[in-house]
Protein backbone atom coordinates (compact mmCIF):
# COMPACT_ATOMS: atom_id res chain seq x y z
CA UNK A 1 0.00 0.00 0.00
CA UNK A 2 1.35 3.34 -0.99
CA UNK A 3 0.58 5.79 1.75
CA UNK A 4 1.59 8.97 -0.01
CA UNK A 5 0.05 8.22 -3.37
CA UNK A 6 -2.08 11.11 -4.46
CA UNK A 7 -5.60 10.37 -5.64
CA UNK A 8 -4.81 11.21 -9.21
CA UNK A 9 -7.69 11.13 -11.60
CA UNK A 10 -10.21 11.63 -8.81
CA UNK A 11 -13.04 13.87 -10.05
CA UNK A 12 -12.34 16.25 -7.22
CA UNK A 13 -9.15 15.89 -5.23
CA UNK A 14 -9.48 14.75 -1.62
CA UNK A 15 -10.99 17.80 -0.05
CA UNK A 16 -10.65 20.73 -2.38
CA UNK A 17 -11.88 24.20 -1.66
CA UNK A 18 -14.65 23.65 -4.17
CA UNK A 19 -16.31 21.01 -2.00
CA UNK A 20 -19.79 21.98 -1.03
CA UNK A 21 -19.95 24.75 -3.60
CA UNK A 22 -20.99 22.63 -6.54
CA UNK A 23 -24.25 20.79 -6.36
CA UNK A 24 -23.74 17.07 -5.86
CA UNK A 25 -27.22 15.98 -6.82
CA UNK A 26 -27.32 13.60 -9.75
CA UNK A 27 -30.08 13.57 -12.31
CA UNK A 28 -33.25 11.60 -11.68
CA UNK A 29 -32.47 9.19 -14.50
CA UNK A 30 -28.95 8.36 -13.38
CA UNK A 31 -30.04 8.03 -9.75
CA UNK A 32 -32.87 5.63 -10.60
CA UNK A 33 -30.64 3.81 -13.10
CA UNK A 34 -27.95 3.39 -10.44
CA UNK A 35 -30.34 1.99 -7.84
CA UNK A 36 -32.10 -0.25 -10.37
CA UNK A 37 -28.78 -1.73 -11.50
CA UNK A 38 -27.71 -2.20 -7.88
CA UNK A 39 -30.91 -3.99 -6.89
CA UNK A 40 -30.88 -6.06 -10.06
CA UNK A 41 -27.32 -7.31 -9.50
CA UNK A 42 -27.93 -8.03 -5.83
CA UNK A 43 -31.13 -9.96 -6.62
CA UNK A 44 -29.61 -11.96 -9.47
CA UNK A 45 -26.82 -13.10 -7.18
CA UNK A 46 -29.32 -14.02 -4.49
CA UNK A 47 -32.04 -15.94 -6.37
CA UNK A 48 -34.04 -16.87 -3.26
CA UNK A 49 -35.24 -13.29 -3.14
CA UNK A 50 -37.36 -13.69 -6.27
CA UNK A 51 -37.81 -17.46 -6.53
CA UNK A 52 -39.45 -17.79 -3.10
CA UNK A 53 -42.55 -15.63 -3.74
CA UNK A 54 -43.15 -17.43 -7.02
CA UNK A 55 -42.86 -20.88 -5.42
CA UNK A 56 -45.10 -19.76 -2.56
CA UNK A 57 -47.76 -18.62 -5.02
CA UNK A 58 -47.64 -21.87 -7.02
CA UNK A 59 -47.63 -24.13 -3.95
CA UNK A 60 -50.48 -22.38 -2.14
CA UNK A 61 -52.74 -22.23 -5.19
CA UNK A 62 -52.10 -25.84 -6.15
CA UNK A 63 -52.89 -27.04 -2.62
CA UNK A 64 -56.47 -25.76 -2.84
CA UNK A 65 -57.80 -28.42 -5.23
CA UNK A 66 -56.35 -31.02 -2.87
CA UNK A 67 -57.98 -29.46 0.18
CA UNK A 68 -61.32 -28.37 -1.25
CA UNK A 69 -61.86 -31.30 -3.57
CA UNK A 70 -61.63 -31.56 -7.34
CA UNK A 71 -65.22 -30.55 -8.19
CA UNK A 72 -64.83 -28.19 -11.19
CA UNK A 73 -67.73 -25.92 -10.23
CA UNK A 74 -66.50 -25.42 -6.63
CA UNK A 75 -63.01 -24.68 -7.87
CA UNK A 76 -64.26 -22.22 -10.47
CA UNK A 77 -66.27 -20.34 -7.86
CA UNK A 78 -63.35 -19.99 -5.40
CA UNK A 79 -60.68 -19.44 -8.07
CA UNK A 80 -60.68 -15.59 -8.10
CA UNK A 81 -60.41 -15.35 -4.34
CA UNK A 82 -57.77 -18.07 -4.03
CA UNK A 83 -55.60 -16.61 -6.77
CA UNK A 84 -55.87 -13.11 -5.37
CA UNK A 85 -55.27 -13.98 -1.71
CA UNK A 86 -52.26 -16.12 -2.64
CA UNK A 87 -50.80 -13.37 -4.81
CA UNK A 88 -51.33 -10.79 -2.06
CA UNK A 89 -49.58 -12.94 0.54
CA UNK A 90 -46.76 -13.81 -1.85
CA UNK A 91 -46.08 -10.13 -2.49
CA UNK A 92 -46.37 -9.00 1.11
CA UNK A 93 -44.30 -11.83 2.56
CA UNK A 94 -41.43 -11.10 0.20
CA UNK A 95 -41.63 -7.35 0.81
CA UNK A 96 -40.89 -7.61 4.50
CA UNK A 97 -37.18 -7.82 3.78
CA UNK A 98 -37.09 -4.99 1.23
CA UNK A 99 -34.86 -2.79 3.38
CA UNK A 100 -33.55 -5.33 5.90
CA UNK A 101 -30.46 -6.40 3.95
CA UNK A 102 -29.49 -2.77 3.33
CA UNK A 103 -30.06 -2.02 6.98
CA UNK A 104 -27.94 -4.94 8.14
CA UNK A 105 -24.89 -4.10 6.03
CA UNK A 106 -25.00 -0.37 6.69
CA UNK A 107 -25.74 0.66 3.10
CA UNK A 108 -29.14 2.03 4.13
CA UNK A 109 -27.38 4.68 6.24
CA UNK A 110 -25.25 5.51 3.23
CA UNK A 111 -28.35 5.91 1.06
CA UNK A 112 -30.06 8.10 3.65
CA UNK A 113 -26.97 10.28 4.08
CA UNK A 114 -26.05 10.44 0.40
CA UNK A 115 -27.97 13.66 -0.06
CA UNK A 116 -29.91 12.14 -2.96
CA UNK A 117 -33.68 11.99 -3.07
CA UNK A 118 -34.72 9.16 -0.78
CA UNK A 119 -38.25 8.83 -2.27
CA UNK A 120 -36.72 8.21 -5.69
CA UNK A 121 -34.40 5.59 -4.24
CA UNK A 122 -37.40 3.89 -2.61
CA UNK A 123 -39.31 4.08 -5.90
CA UNK A 124 -36.48 2.39 -7.79
CA UNK A 125 -36.11 -0.30 -5.16
CA UNK A 126 -39.84 -1.08 -5.19
CA UNK A 127 -39.97 -1.23 -8.98
CA UNK A 128 -37.10 -3.72 -9.17
CA UNK A 129 -38.62 -5.75 -6.38
CA UNK A 130 -41.91 -5.89 -8.26
CA UNK A 131 -40.20 -6.83 -11.53
CA UNK A 132 -38.52 -9.75 -9.82
CA UNK A 133 -41.24 -10.95 -7.47
CA UNK A 134 -44.56 -9.51 -8.71
CA UNK A 135 -44.24 -9.84 -12.46
CA UNK A 136 -43.41 -13.58 -12.41
CA UNK A 137 -46.72 -14.15 -10.56
CA UNK A 138 -48.51 -12.63 -13.55
CA UNK A 139 -46.87 -15.04 -15.93
CA UNK A 140 -47.76 -18.20 -14.00
CA UNK A 141 -51.28 -17.02 -13.12
CA UNK A 142 -52.92 -18.27 -16.40
CA UNK A 143 -51.62 -21.76 -15.70
CA UNK A 144 -52.88 -21.72 -12.11
CA UNK A 145 -56.19 -20.25 -13.30
CA UNK A 146 -56.66 -23.26 -15.58
CA UNK A 147 -55.76 -25.54 -12.68
CA UNK A 148 -58.63 -23.97 -10.72
CA UNK A 149 -61.00 -24.17 -13.68
CA UNK A 150 -61.40 -20.42 -14.04
CA UNK A 151 -63.16 -19.64 -17.35
CA UNK A 152 -60.58 -18.90 -20.02
CA UNK A 153 -62.19 -15.58 -20.97
CA UNK A 154 -61.54 -14.28 -17.42
CA UNK A 155 -57.81 -14.87 -17.63
CA UNK A 156 -56.87 -11.56 -19.33
CA UNK A 157 -58.81 -9.68 -16.65
CA UNK A 158 -57.04 -11.75 -13.97
CA UNK A 159 -53.69 -10.73 -15.40
CA UNK A 160 -54.56 -7.06 -15.72
CA UNK A 161 -55.98 -6.94 -12.19
CA UNK A 162 -52.90 -8.73 -10.84
CA UNK A 163 -50.64 -6.30 -12.71
CA UNK A 164 -52.33 -3.26 -11.16
CA UNK A 165 -52.84 -4.94 -7.79
CA UNK A 166 -49.42 -6.47 -7.13
CA UNK A 167 -47.72 -3.20 -8.08
CA UNK A 168 -49.98 -1.30 -5.66
CA UNK A 169 -49.32 -3.89 -2.96
CA UNK A 170 -45.57 -3.56 -3.51
CA UNK A 171 -45.77 0.17 -2.83
CA UNK A 172 -48.05 -0.26 0.19
CA UNK A 173 -45.82 -3.04 1.49
CA UNK A 174 -42.78 -0.79 1.14
CA UNK A 175 -44.30 1.57 3.72
CA UNK A 176 -44.68 -1.32 6.12
CA UNK A 177 -41.17 -2.58 5.40
CA UNK A 178 -39.77 0.91 6.02
CA UNK A 179 -41.68 1.26 9.29
CA UNK A 180 -40.41 -2.05 10.60
CA UNK A 181 -36.82 -1.75 9.38
CA UNK A 182 -34.36 -2.83 12.04
CA UNK A 183 -36.95 -4.65 14.13
CA UNK A 184 -36.37 -8.34 14.64
CA UNK A 185 -39.19 -10.71 13.86
CA UNK A 186 -41.26 -7.95 12.34
CA UNK A 187 -43.33 -10.32 10.18
CA UNK A 188 -46.54 -10.27 12.22
CA UNK A 189 -46.30 -6.54 12.91
CA UNK A 190 -45.77 -5.92 9.22
CA UNK A 191 -48.90 -7.91 8.36
CA UNK A 192 -50.94 -5.98 10.91
CA UNK A 193 -49.72 -2.69 9.47
CA UNK A 194 -50.11 -3.52 5.81
CA UNK A 195 -53.06 -5.91 5.53
CA UNK A 196 -55.75 -3.29 6.32
CA UNK A 197 -54.30 -1.09 3.57
CA UNK A 198 -54.28 -3.94 1.10
CA UNK A 199 -57.92 -4.97 1.65
CA UNK A 200 -59.32 -2.54 -0.98
CA UNK A 201 -56.92 -3.96 -3.56
CA UNK A 202 -58.01 -7.49 -2.70
CA UNK A 203 -61.73 -6.62 -2.87
CA UNK A 204 -61.60 -4.86 -6.21
CA UNK A 205 -59.08 -7.27 -7.69
CA UNK A 206 -61.01 -10.43 -6.95
CA UNK A 207 -64.37 -8.86 -7.76
CA UNK A 208 -63.04 -7.89 -11.19
CA UNK A 209 -62.12 -11.51 -11.83
CA UNK A 210 -65.49 -12.73 -10.50
CA UNK A 211 -67.32 -10.29 -12.77
CA UNK A 212 -65.23 -11.33 -15.77
CA UNK A 213 -65.91 -14.99 -15.08
CA UNK A 214 -69.67 -14.34 -15.12
CA UNK A 215 -69.37 -12.26 -18.28
CA UNK A 216 -70.09 -8.88 -16.65
CA UNK A 217 -68.30 -5.58 -17.25
CA UNK A 218 -65.07 -5.06 -15.34
CA UNK A 219 -64.15 -1.49 -16.25
CA UNK A 220 -65.28 -0.10 -12.87
CA UNK A 221 -63.16 -2.45 -10.76
CA UNK A 222 -60.10 -2.07 -12.98
CA UNK A 223 -60.36 1.72 -12.92
CA UNK A 224 -60.55 1.69 -9.14
CA UNK A 225 -57.46 -0.55 -9.07
CA UNK A 226 -55.68 1.86 -11.41
CA UNK A 227 -56.66 4.78 -9.19
CA UNK A 228 -55.33 2.95 -6.12
CA UNK A 229 -52.09 2.30 -7.99
CA UNK A 230 -51.67 5.98 -8.86
CA UNK A 231 -52.39 6.95 -5.28
CA UNK A 232 -49.82 4.47 -3.99
CA UNK A 233 -47.29 5.52 -6.63
CA UNK A 234 -47.60 9.15 -5.60
CA UNK A 235 -47.69 8.78 -1.82
CA UNK A 236 -45.95 5.55 -0.86
CA UNK A 237 -42.37 6.54 -1.82
CA UNK A 238 -42.65 9.76 0.19
CA UNK A 239 -44.15 7.98 3.20
CA UNK A 240 -41.68 5.11 3.05
CA UNK A 241 -38.75 7.54 2.78
CA UNK A 242 -39.88 9.37 5.91
CA UNK A 243 -40.38 6.08 7.72
CA UNK A 244 -36.88 4.99 6.66
CA UNK A 245 -35.30 8.11 8.11
CA UNK A 246 -37.01 7.36 11.41
CA UNK A 247 -36.22 3.65 11.19
CA UNK A 248 -32.52 4.26 10.60
CA UNK A 249 -32.28 6.71 13.49
CA UNK A 250 -34.10 4.43 15.90
CA UNK A 251 -31.08 2.21 16.41
CA UNK A 252 -27.43 2.46 17.13
Amino acid sequence: MNSDKPATGSPVPGSGESAGVESTTVGIVSLIGCIVRREWLVALRNPGQWVNPLLFFIVVVSLFPLGVGPSPSTLASIAPGVLWVSALLAVLLSLGALFDADYADGTLEQLVLSGQSLPLIVLAKVLVHWLLSGLPLLFVSPLLALLLNLPVHAIPVLMVSLFLGTLTLSFVGAIGAALTVGLNQAGVLLSLLVLPLSVPVLIFGSSAVVAAASGLGVAGQLLVLAALLLLALALAPLTAALALRIGVSGSS
Binding site: P11, G14, S15, A19, G20, T25, V26, R38, L41, S252
Partner: protein
Protein backbone atom coordinates in the same frame (compact mmCIF):
# COMPACT_ATOMS: atom_id res chain seq x y z
CA UNK B 1 -12.91 23.52 23.71
CA UNK B 2 -15.27 26.45 23.64
CA UNK B 3 -18.39 26.10 21.57
CA UNK B 4 -19.04 28.93 19.20
CA UNK B 5 -21.95 27.83 17.10
CA UNK B 6 -22.03 30.96 14.96
CA UNK B 7 -18.46 30.80 13.74
CA UNK B 8 -17.76 27.09 13.77
CA UNK B 9 -18.16 24.81 10.79
CA UNK B 10 -19.67 22.06 12.90
CA UNK B 11 -20.79 22.65 16.43
CA UNK B 12 -22.44 20.18 18.72
CA UNK B 13 -24.30 21.72 21.61
CA UNK B 14 -25.29 19.95 24.82
CA UNK B 15 -26.20 16.64 23.20
CA UNK B 16 -28.05 14.42 25.61
CA UNK B 17 -29.17 10.91 24.76
CA UNK B 18 -31.02 8.53 27.04
CA UNK B 19 -31.08 4.78 26.43
CA UNK B 20 -34.08 3.73 28.46
CA UNK B 21 -33.19 4.77 32.01
CA UNK B 22 -29.51 5.15 31.19
CA UNK B 23 -28.02 8.54 30.51
CA UNK B 24 -25.73 7.64 27.60
CA UNK B 25 -24.54 11.07 26.51
CA UNK B 26 -24.63 13.84 29.08
CA UNK B 27 -24.51 17.35 27.62
CA UNK B 28 -21.73 16.71 25.12
CA UNK B 29 -20.47 19.83 23.34
CA UNK B 30 -17.67 20.35 20.89
CA UNK B 31 -16.88 22.32 17.77
CA UNK B 32 -14.93 21.49 14.65
CA UNK B 33 -13.37 23.90 12.19
CA UNK B 34 -11.32 23.55 9.04
CA UNK B 35 -8.17 21.59 9.77
CA UNK B 36 -9.43 20.08 13.02
CA UNK B 37 -9.16 16.41 13.85
CA UNK B 38 -11.15 15.27 16.85
CA UNK B 39 -10.81 11.78 18.24
CA UNK B 40 -13.60 10.50 20.46
CA UNK B 41 -12.37 8.08 23.09
CA UNK B 42 -14.20 6.02 25.63
CA UNK B 43 -14.84 2.54 26.89
CA UNK B 44 -17.10 0.14 25.03
CA UNK B 45 -20.69 1.23 25.47
CA UNK B 46 -19.81 4.80 26.38
CA UNK B 47 -21.79 6.14 23.42
CA UNK B 48 -19.13 6.86 20.81
CA UNK B 49 -21.11 5.44 17.90
CA UNK B 50 -24.29 7.08 19.13
CA UNK B 51 -22.53 10.43 19.31
CA UNK B 52 -21.29 10.09 15.73
CA UNK B 53 -24.71 8.99 14.47
CA UNK B 54 -26.45 11.90 16.15
CA UNK B 55 -23.82 14.26 14.77
CA UNK B 56 -24.49 12.97 11.26
CA UNK B 57 -28.23 13.22 11.66
CA UNK B 58 -28.96 9.49 11.49
CA UNK B 59 -29.48 9.30 15.23
CA UNK B 60 -31.89 11.29 17.35
CA UNK B 61 -30.80 13.21 20.43
CA UNK B 62 -33.18 13.73 23.35
CA UNK B 63 -31.78 17.22 23.89
CA UNK B 64 -29.22 19.41 22.21
CA UNK B 65 -28.60 20.43 18.65
CA UNK B 66 -26.00 19.99 15.94
CA UNK B 67 -25.19 23.06 13.86
CA UNK B 68 -23.58 23.12 10.43
CA UNK B 69 -22.26 26.61 9.62
CA UNK B 70 -24.56 27.99 12.27
CA UNK B 71 -27.73 26.31 11.01
CA UNK B 72 -29.28 23.27 12.72
CA UNK B 73 -28.60 20.24 10.52
CA UNK B 74 -32.25 19.23 10.25
CA UNK B 75 -32.84 22.60 8.56
CA UNK B 76 -29.82 22.42 6.29
CA UNK B 77 -29.90 18.73 5.54
CA UNK B 78 -29.01 19.06 1.85
CA UNK B 79 -25.96 21.26 2.38
CA UNK B 80 -24.88 19.17 5.35
CA UNK B 81 -25.24 15.84 3.53
CA UNK B 82 -23.27 17.27 0.60
CA UNK B 83 -20.43 18.21 2.91
CA UNK B 84 -20.50 14.99 4.92
CA UNK B 85 -18.74 11.69 4.40
CA UNK B 86 -19.84 9.14 6.98
CA UNK B 87 -18.19 5.75 7.32
CA UNK B 88 -20.28 3.89 9.83
CA UNK B 89 -19.69 1.04 12.19
CA UNK B 90 -20.89 -1.39 9.54
CA UNK B 91 -18.84 -1.50 6.33
CA UNK B 92 -21.66 -0.03 4.24
CA UNK B 93 -20.93 -2.16 1.20
CA UNK B 94 -23.12 -4.77 -0.50
CA UNK B 95 -21.61 -8.22 -0.03
CA UNK B 96 -23.10 -9.47 -3.28
CA UNK B 97 -21.44 -6.77 -5.37
CA UNK B 98 -17.79 -6.40 -6.29
CA UNK B 99 -15.61 -3.59 -4.99
CA UNK B 100 -15.91 -1.74 -8.31
CA UNK B 101 -19.71 -2.06 -8.38
CA UNK B 102 -19.96 -0.85 -4.80
CA UNK B 103 -17.78 2.18 -5.48
CA UNK B 104 -19.62 3.01 -8.72
CA UNK B 105 -22.87 3.18 -6.74
CA UNK B 106 -21.17 5.34 -4.16
CA UNK B 107 -19.79 7.66 -6.86
CA UNK B 108 -23.23 8.08 -8.42
CA UNK B 109 -24.79 8.73 -5.02
CA UNK B 110 -22.07 11.32 -4.45
CA UNK B 111 -23.12 13.13 -7.59
CA UNK B 112 -20.62 11.90 -10.17
CA UNK B 113 -21.98 10.61 -13.44
CA UNK B 114 -20.86 7.28 -14.85
CA UNK B 115 -17.98 8.42 -16.98
CA UNK B 116 -14.55 7.04 -17.83
CA UNK B 117 -13.10 9.62 -15.47
CA UNK B 118 -15.15 8.30 -12.57
CA UNK B 119 -14.10 4.77 -13.42
CA UNK B 120 -10.46 5.85 -13.49
CA UNK B 121 -10.88 7.51 -10.10
CA UNK B 122 -12.37 4.27 -8.74
CA UNK B 123 -9.49 2.26 -10.20
CA UNK B 124 -6.89 4.53 -8.68
CA UNK B 125 -8.68 4.46 -5.32
CA UNK B 126 -8.69 0.65 -5.39
CA UNK B 127 -5.04 0.72 -6.39
CA UNK B 128 -4.17 3.03 -3.50
CA UNK B 129 -5.73 0.49 -1.15
CA UNK B 130 -4.05 -2.52 -2.82
CA UNK B 131 -7.41 -3.92 -3.83
CA UNK B 132 -6.90 -4.05 -7.59
CA UNK B 133 -6.41 -7.86 -7.74
CA UNK B 134 -9.63 -8.32 -5.76
CA UNK B 135 -11.72 -5.72 -7.50
CA UNK B 136 -13.86 -8.21 -9.44
CA UNK B 137 -14.65 -10.52 -6.53
CA UNK B 138 -17.95 -10.17 -4.66
CA UNK B 139 -17.15 -8.35 -1.44
CA UNK B 140 -18.61 -11.08 0.75
CA UNK B 141 -15.67 -13.28 -0.24
CA UNK B 142 -13.12 -10.68 0.88
CA UNK B 143 -11.55 -10.68 4.34
CA UNK B 144 -12.82 -8.28 7.00
CA UNK B 145 -9.79 -6.06 6.50
CA UNK B 146 -10.28 -5.98 2.73
CA UNK B 147 -13.95 -5.11 3.16
CA UNK B 148 -12.91 -2.28 5.45
CA UNK B 149 -10.53 -1.10 2.73
CA UNK B 150 -13.33 -1.08 0.15
CA UNK B 151 -15.27 1.15 2.56
CA UNK B 152 -12.23 3.38 3.07
CA UNK B 153 -11.76 3.79 -0.70
CA UNK B 154 -14.72 6.16 -0.48
CA UNK B 155 -12.45 8.70 1.22
CA UNK B 156 -10.79 9.20 -2.17
CA UNK B 157 -13.99 9.37 -4.20
CA UNK B 158 -16.06 12.06 -2.57
CA UNK B 159 -14.93 15.56 -1.78
CA UNK B 160 -16.47 16.33 1.56
CA UNK B 161 -15.46 18.90 4.13
CA UNK B 162 -16.41 16.77 7.08
CA UNK B 163 -15.34 13.18 7.54
CA UNK B 164 -17.08 11.24 10.27
CA UNK B 165 -15.35 7.90 10.72
CA UNK B 166 -16.59 5.29 13.16
CA UNK B 167 -13.75 2.92 14.06
CA UNK B 168 -12.09 3.20 10.63
CA UNK B 169 -9.10 1.16 11.76
CA UNK B 170 -10.99 -1.97 12.79
CA UNK B 171 -9.41 -5.09 11.22
CA UNK B 172 -6.88 -3.02 9.26
CA UNK B 173 -3.21 -4.06 9.11
CA UNK B 174 -0.25 -1.80 9.89
CA UNK B 175 -0.01 -0.51 6.32
CA UNK B 176 -3.72 0.27 6.37
CA UNK B 177 -3.34 2.19 9.61
CA UNK B 178 -0.55 4.30 8.09
CA UNK B 179 -2.66 4.96 5.00
CA UNK B 180 -5.66 6.15 7.04
CA UNK B 181 -3.42 8.40 9.15
CA UNK B 182 -1.91 9.88 5.99
CA UNK B 183 -5.35 10.51 4.49
CA UNK B 184 -6.61 12.17 7.67
CA UNK B 185 -3.51 14.34 7.78
CA UNK B 186 -3.91 15.34 4.14
CA UNK B 187 -7.60 16.07 4.56
CA UNK B 188 -6.96 18.29 7.58
CA UNK B 189 -4.11 20.05 5.78
CA UNK B 190 -6.45 20.76 2.85
CA UNK B 191 -8.92 22.44 5.18
CA UNK B 192 -11.20 19.53 5.94
CA UNK B 193 -12.36 18.41 9.35
CA UNK B 194 -12.33 14.89 10.75
CA UNK B 195 -14.36 13.43 13.59
CA UNK B 196 -13.45 9.85 14.42
CA UNK B 197 -13.56 7.17 17.05
CA UNK B 198 -10.74 4.72 17.54
CA UNK B 199 -8.86 3.11 20.40
CA UNK B 200 -5.52 3.42 18.64
CA UNK B 201 -3.39 6.49 19.42
CA UNK B 202 -3.09 8.41 16.17
CA UNK B 203 0.19 9.63 14.81
CA UNK B 204 -0.47 12.29 12.26
CA UNK B 205 2.23 14.65 11.03
CA UNK B 206 1.65 18.37 11.34
CA UNK B 207 -1.85 17.97 12.72
CA UNK B 208 -2.86 18.14 16.36
CA UNK B 209 -5.40 15.50 17.22
CA UNK B 210 -7.82 16.76 19.86
CA UNK B 211 -9.43 14.13 21.99
CA UNK B 212 -12.77 13.99 23.73
CA UNK B 213 -13.23 11.40 26.45
CA UNK B 214 -16.68 9.91 26.92
CA UNK B 215 -18.04 7.96 29.84
Amino acid sequence: MSVDQKNSMLSVNNLTVWRGDNLLLDKISFALNSGDVLQIKGANGSGKTTLLRVTCGVGIADEGEVYWNGIPIHKSRDQFNDALLYLGHKPGIKGGLTAIENLRIFATLSGYSQTKETDRAIESALDALSLTPKSHIACRYLSAGQQRRVGLARLLLRSSHLWVLDEPLTSLDAAGLLWVEAQIGKHAANGGAVLLTTHVPLNIDAVTVDTLELG
